[in-house]
């Protein structure tokens, strides 16, 4: 069974459906309710945009990247998450053919980059880490310059509009704020209408507002069906944007999967907070049923739950015991906890 993302031809909504290789399904768009047939690819391998196999990079005694393997599906946002110095940029630059690997292979859109990188240049685009474009080009000229380098060119007007750069298009690049520069950088990634967009730490150094703007841009890329390879050391960025997350630590991938999968597998469980509970027996009743519950004072109880569907079980237990409460609040486990579980350190503490 394969899960794939499909873009609605009517409203552009992206929805995920599951099916077997070669299987045809009649599906309905959850947004505009348009019905139509979709077909899953025969060859499952063809659905991967990036395939990395046993990648290794050694500098003298330092192993920067240590036997990394993963696959990125077409149309997904893949977050490569890890502290500074973990090997993220080295890995992404090997994938982009900017660096030579010591060992291992990379396949982009079915082409081995050792021999076929030139063939895929037209179909990929990158935003390098800490990228600054030509200082004395205007925003429009910057886009036009990079656009001219490709055979296949996207509509510059459309990109300027989509990136909300109309009011800045005549400004010189060097006069732009950090957030705008990053937005232009991401816009540059679209000038050749690529299939894969690599964004290396696109929000580092930005203020929260500018970061949100870039996130919106990345969300739009996903909506357009682009495969986005996002390198980041911000947990919330990966949580907000990624379909699939790989966590790298000290040159190795220590966990990989969807956000739900990672939290379920490595998280310390979610906490269900029950407020306005006046019954003195509530904690004892829950503990009797095997729950990890404790009082937080002022009629508030905290119950650790492992799976989200057990929230109903907890509430059902209380209802059967005739315990009243006013409200509930669920605090989910997050990637920070996942990282803590996996490495024994918080992400920022783990920076090399």
């Amino acid at each position: 069974m394969v899960t794939m993302r499909f873009k609605c031809p009517s409203c552009g909504e992206i929805a995920s459906f599951s099916g077997g290789p070669g299987e045809e399904l009649v599906v309905t768009c959850p947004s505009c309710m348009l019905s139509g047939k979709i077909r899953f690819p025969e060859d499952q391998e063809a659905s991967y945009a990036i395939e990395v196999s046993h990648l290794k990079k050694v500098y003298g005694d330092l192993i920067a990247v240590n036997d990394i393997s993963f696959k990125v599906r077409k149309g997904e946002v893949f977050a490569f998450l890890g502290p500074n110095g973990a090997g993220k940029t080295t890995t992404v630059e090997i994938i982009e053919s900017i660096r030579e690997p010591t060992a291992g292979t990379v396949t982009l859109l079915g082409e081995d980059t050792r021999t076929g990188f030139n063939k895929v240049k037209e179909r990929i685009s990158i935003l390098p880490q800490e990228f600054h474009s030509f200082e004395r080009f205007t925003v429009r000229e910057t886009l036009e310059y990079f656009s001219y380098l490709y055979q296949k060119r996207a509509d510059i007007e459309g990109i300027i509009a989509a990136m909300d750069l109309e009011s800045h298009e005549k400004m010189l690049y060097r006069t732009l704020s950090g957030g705008l520069k990053q937005r232009v950088g991401v816009a540059l990634s679209l000038v050749n209408d690529p299939d894969i967009v690599f964004l290396d730490e696109p929000t580092t150094g930005l203020d929260p507002k500018a970061r949100r703007e870039v996130w919106q841009v990345i969300a739009n890329l996903r909506a357009q069906g682009k495969t986005v390879f996002l390198t980041t050391h911000y947990m919330e960025e990966a949580e907000f944007l990624a379909d699939h997350i790989a966590i790298i630590h000290k040159g190795r991938i220590i966990a990989e999967g969807s956000l739900d999968h990672l939290i379920t597998k490595y998280g310390q469980g979610s906490v269900l907070r029950i407020q306005g509970c006046t019954s003195p027996d509530a904690i004892a009743i829950l503990k009797e049923q095997g729950y990890d519950a404790h009082s937080e004072g002022n009629g508030s109880l905290a119950v650790t739950i492992t799976y989200k569907d057990r929230v109903l079980d907890v509430l059902s237990t209380l209802r059967h015991a005739a315990v009243d409460y006013e409200s509930i609040e669920i605090r989910r486990s997050n990637l920070e906890e996942v990282f803590l579980t996996l490495t024994g350190a918080k992400l920022l503490e783990a920076e090399a």
Partner: protein
């Protein structure tokens, strides 16, 4: 090779360059200012070196007396040259600024003048017109000595005259020397610093990494940048010549060798810039390295002052500096019209250009280690 991409890159480079007031100033206005300032300073003043070479064909008492008087002025430092030497060949071979020839029959002519008032004798003074200050002083001192002699011998009748002859066929002045040097120097500055910006700043800013993943090839990029560099070099050359002609009455010959030298030097100094950019990764350090290379060249390669004014060991140092040959090739191909020297120096510049540019291209990498 995609020429559309190359052309587009050149167009954007020119546009970007024009927007940088600082770059335009250093590329165009700074050379113009130097031409105007140095032209004004050196158009009428001298220098502090008063060395003169003397060839005495007469070997007489009177010629010895003349040399003695010249020595006693304390202003002239006399070096005797064997009279078997061919004067013009000797001057050329030894790069001599002032050379006095006392002809055979000097004493006899003076003696005869007491019997025959029409009898007279001329000393020949060879001078390098590019060393205006020095040669004017020496010539003036010798003329004064001869005038005093004439006054004592005949109450002012001209018995001993001084015939001045340029070591170069035309009459040149300092600005003729300076403008080609300024062109060479400006090309050097633009090419070295331009290359460094492309190889360090663009690397730091991620532009080279970005370009590496686009369809533009390294050859197309380098070709585009060299075409832009040639545009700047010819623009600088044209403006320097125009200012020289309009303000200082410079007489210039546009020759194929001059054009070849401008092209070769653009490649030569771009190559040097690429090599610096390859080994010095930090932008600021690279700028300092470029300064460390270009500034000594500027002063030691005969850009502003003739090499003859410098100590002998510095003159030897100059002979290994590429800018020296660029300056000499430009001077001889566009001003002095000495074909032999023009060809020799242009050929040396060409060889330097091939070596440094090829090394630069080979060493320049877009990929990271």
């Amino acid at each position: 090779m995609n020429l559309r991409i190359v052309g587009m890159d050149v167009f954007f480079s020119i546009k970007s360059w024009w927007r940088s007031r600082g770059t335009v100033f250093w590329s165009l206005l700074f050379p113009i200012m130097l031409i105007l300032i140095f032209g004004a300073i050196f158009s009428g003043t001298g220098s502090s070196s008063y060395s003169v070479y003397v060839q005495d064909h007469d070997h007489s008492t009177m010629s010895s007396q003349l040399l003695d008087i010249m020595n006693k002025t304390g202003v002239l430092k006399i070096t005797m040259v064997n009279d078997s030497e061919n004067a013009t060949a000797y001057i050329k071979a030894n790069n001599i600024g002032c050379f006095l020839v006392i002809p055979e029959g000097y004493e006899r002519s003076i003696n005869q003048s007491f019997i025959n008032p029409a009898s007279r004798v001329n000393l020949t003074f060879y001078y390098d017109p590019t060393e205006t200050g020095t040669t004017e002083v020496v010539r003036s001192v010798i003329s004064n000595i001869l005038q005093t002699m004439n006054m004592r011998l005949s109450q002012g009748r001209s018995i001993v005259g001084l015939s001045a002859q340029s070591t170069i066929t035309e009459k040149f002045n300092y600005i003729d020397f300076f403008v080609p040097g300024m062109i060479g120097f400006t090309i050097m500055q633009q090419a070295i610093y331009g290359s460094i910006e492309r190889n360090t700043k663009y690397r730091k800013d991620g532009i080279l990494r970005k370009l590496l993943t686009t369809p533009i090839t390294r050859s197309e990029w380098i070709l585009a940048k060299m075409l832009f560099m040639l545009f700047l070099s010819f623009l600088t050359t044209t403006i320097a010549i125009l200012v020289g002609v309009l303000v200082w009455g410079l007489k210039v010959n546009i020759t194929p060798l001059m054009i070849l030298t401008v092209v070769s030097s653009s490649f030569l100094f771009s190559g040097i810039g690429m090599i610096i950019g390859r080994f010095v990764k930090e932008e600021e350090t690279a700028d300092m390295a470029a300064g460390a290379i270009s500034f000594p060249m500027m002063f030691l390669a005969g850009t502003f002052f003739p090499l003859a004014l410098m100590p002998a060991f510095l003159q030897t140092v100059a002979q290994v500096l590429p800018l020296y040959y660029v300056n000499e090739a430009l001077r001889n191909s566009m001003i002095y019209m000495n074909q032999t020297l023009a060809i020799t120096n242009a050929a040396i510049v060409l060889v330097f250009a091939v070596v440094f540019f090829v090394a630069g291209v080979v060493l320049t990498k877009w990929r990271e280690d």
